[in-house]
Symmetry: C2
Subunit: 405 residues, 2 copies
């Protein structure tokens, strides 16, 4: 059996994701689709609107065969580390292909850019660093450096587009592993990554779907046309059960509490907290009325909104530099969240060759290895009132991988 890997967050799974998964299967002509999916906290420094278990259900019901969790140590990270963790997992799962959506849609553009940059790697990276020192954000520095070095011999990919940046990092990560997987890209349809409004009749960005979800006042009719029925039902069930989707508002009291009860010195032990931003964070926590208010008060030119949000997640989960450094250089395990019957057969086929332990129950592995994931799941559950909080908290330890037939 052959397999194709996807890097996903599915927050929530929508028609664009369905299109991508179907195209991936078609273009690579493989038997099994494997998704490496962020857990409860996402790359942009946000809680997912529903738990990783609910999102796994959506994925399996829509045709994904295996869902593996991207550990916290890679999930709440900049594009480069996020990509490295994701690609390492897909490779460890024995994928023959990996397939990503991009604004470009041309895999050659990515290869050209990658090769051009690799040739003048040191120069390129020091230019990025220099630009960032002057206060420019990472994405802008990336594309400006590229232009500055006049690397454009062939047709290159536009590194100002968010999905192109991710794709570039997937390609780079795959290259760092000696290109074990063949890369395929699919041009994204209709929706732009950051779109907040609906613009097509069936495809919409996850951002706009989430926005409609939170504005919906307990009915989800507005998003019906943009998501598979299976997603719709999972979301509806989640809302019925817990009365709430997750967003930063639910965690703001905890973040504020954490900031108010932590000294500046302790804050500097937290991953990504540096350059004195701890003073700013603590000062503004006192006066902010909400997460949005806090972010607006804290924001500076120096840091992107996303980067500050990631800091906030690390503060919330009390993830320290020393802990992150111990785990983010290499994957250490493969945590199975769910599978179809076909996925199960595939697993049986590759099991004996796996380089890393496959975790299906937490009790089967020493706790310190998965500590960051357990903690993130525990904190995520804290956003809900009881009894849902306790139920979700326990799921982390007791929930076996979903099997979809």
């Amino acid at each position: 059996m052959k397999s194709t890997g996807l890097v996903v967050e599915y927050n929530p799974f929508h028609n664009g994701h369905l299109f991508h998964a179907e195209q991936a299967r078609k273009q690579t002509n493989t038997d099994v689709i494997i998704a490496v999916m962020s857990g409860n906290f996402l790359q942009r420094g946000e809680p997912s609107i529903v738990s990783k278990w609910a999102r796994t259900k959506m994925a399996l019901q829509a045709g994904i065969d295996l869902v593996i969790e991207l550990p916290y140590a890679f999930a709440v990270q900049n594009a480069e580390k996020f990509a490295f963790g994701s690609i390492s997992i897909l490779n460890a799962m024995g994928c023959h292909f990996f397939c990503f959506g991009s604004e470009s849609g041309e895999i050659n553009e990515f290869s050209n850019t990658l090769e051009a940059i690799e040739k003048r790697k040191n120069e390129y990276e020091s230019t990025i660093k220099e630009l960032m020192k002057s206060g420019i954000s990472y994405p802008t520095a990336l594309s400006q450096s590229f232009n500055k070095l006049e690397l454009q011999e062939h047709k290159n990919v536009d590194l100002t587009k968010p999905n192109n940046i991710l794709g570039y990092h997937y390609m780079k990560a795959n290259r760092s592993l000696q290109n074990p997987m063949k890369a395929v890209t699919i041009k994204r349809k209709n929706a732009n990554y950051h779109d907040e409004e609906f613009s097509s009749s069936t495809i919409a960005s996850a951002t706009s779907i989430r926005k409609a979800t939170f504005n919906s006042n307990q009915t989800l009719d507005e998003i019906k046309q943009y998501v598979p029925e299976t997603t719709f039902n999972v979301l509806q069930d989640y809302l019925t059960e817990t009365q709430s989707f997750h967003n930063w508002d639910l965690y703001w009291p905890y973040l504020q509490y954490r900031l108010l009860s932590t000294t500046e010195k302790e804050l500097t032990e937290i991953y990504e907290i540096e350059e004195g931003i701890e003073y700013r964070l603590k000062r503004e926590a006192k006066d902010a009325n909400s997460f949005q208010d806090f972010m607006e008060k804290v924001k500076t030119k120096r840091y992107t909104w996303t980067r500050i949000q990631r800091m906030c997640v690390h503060i919330l989960t009390n993830t320290k530099k020393i802990e992150m450094f111990a785990h983010h250089n290499q994957i250490e395990y493969l945590r199975l969240l769910g599978m179809t019957e076909k996925g199960k057969s595939y697993l049986n086929q590759i099991k004996k060759d796996l380089e890393f332990p496959l975790i299906s129950k937490l009790s089967s592995i020493p706790n310190h290895i998965v500590e960051l994931d357990i903690r993130a799941a525990a904190i995520y559950s804290q956003g809900l009132p009881n009894p849902f909080r306790q139920k979700l908290l326990k799921a982390e330890y007791s929930q076996p991988p979903y099997v979809f037939k």
Copy 2:
């Protein structure tokens, strides 16, 4: 002008407190009554039902002339350290007398016991330590040691009674300062310290009043006969404004969050966390549905309920051993919460002789000195929903001492 000091929590101020204050004034025949009052977290390891500001108002309206905050470093402590901090502050405020309620009511009984123990101090203290090692709680160990040493030459005070224990420690603290103040004790009327039910028509324990307050379903009629009208009005206003009195239930989500997001190793840095209880606390935090449930799961013979509650307060406020050790051996400041006109005149009289800075605005003093108090106040405010949370949080920095005319 002469002054008499009282050690109080006023949680809330009730008729028993009024009786005590009036008796204190009468028996010592002084001009000014000074209360040293715990802040938002109390000796038994609980949040006060209303903020220190509201409790200051109750005190001033009922005839107390000056209210000084007992710093967190002394307030959330065992009887000995609590007494030492309180008596040091009353002494620093120039009190000529201090007056405490007791089950005994006979000051000679206290002096006899104190002298008898002081004579055989080392032997006495090592007996207490030994008894506690065998798993006996502190109050029991105290009175058992006393009996064991056969110290009863004269009539002694019964050290199994909670207010007698406190009184004994006040006397001991005063003695350690070379007895600068004259001690007076008043026999407590009717209510026992831990009474949960009402037993008299006008005097009831603060415990029973708090219980009725929380069971009251937004009307306070049941406690009306046990508190001065001024207290009743302050409580009513607080409830109208914030919709809630404070108890551990409001802080349980934060405590659970803190325990779930803190490693065992980090927990051992917290004051009073030792002997491996950090494992127990973390384990039970996962399964508990409420603070009560948590306490019942954590409780062992070894520790009194109160001692575990104090640990919980220190975890909640992230108060570390190193911080506490830096502050709990000597008072460093006198924080003024409120005064009457008479209290103000007294202050003007003693001001020039004060050994410690008198704080009436936080901005007038280096933050690190009052850091534990600021943090405790910030965490206390976190129990309320917004906008009350932000209002109370700001009060800590902006509220000048109340002046009651």
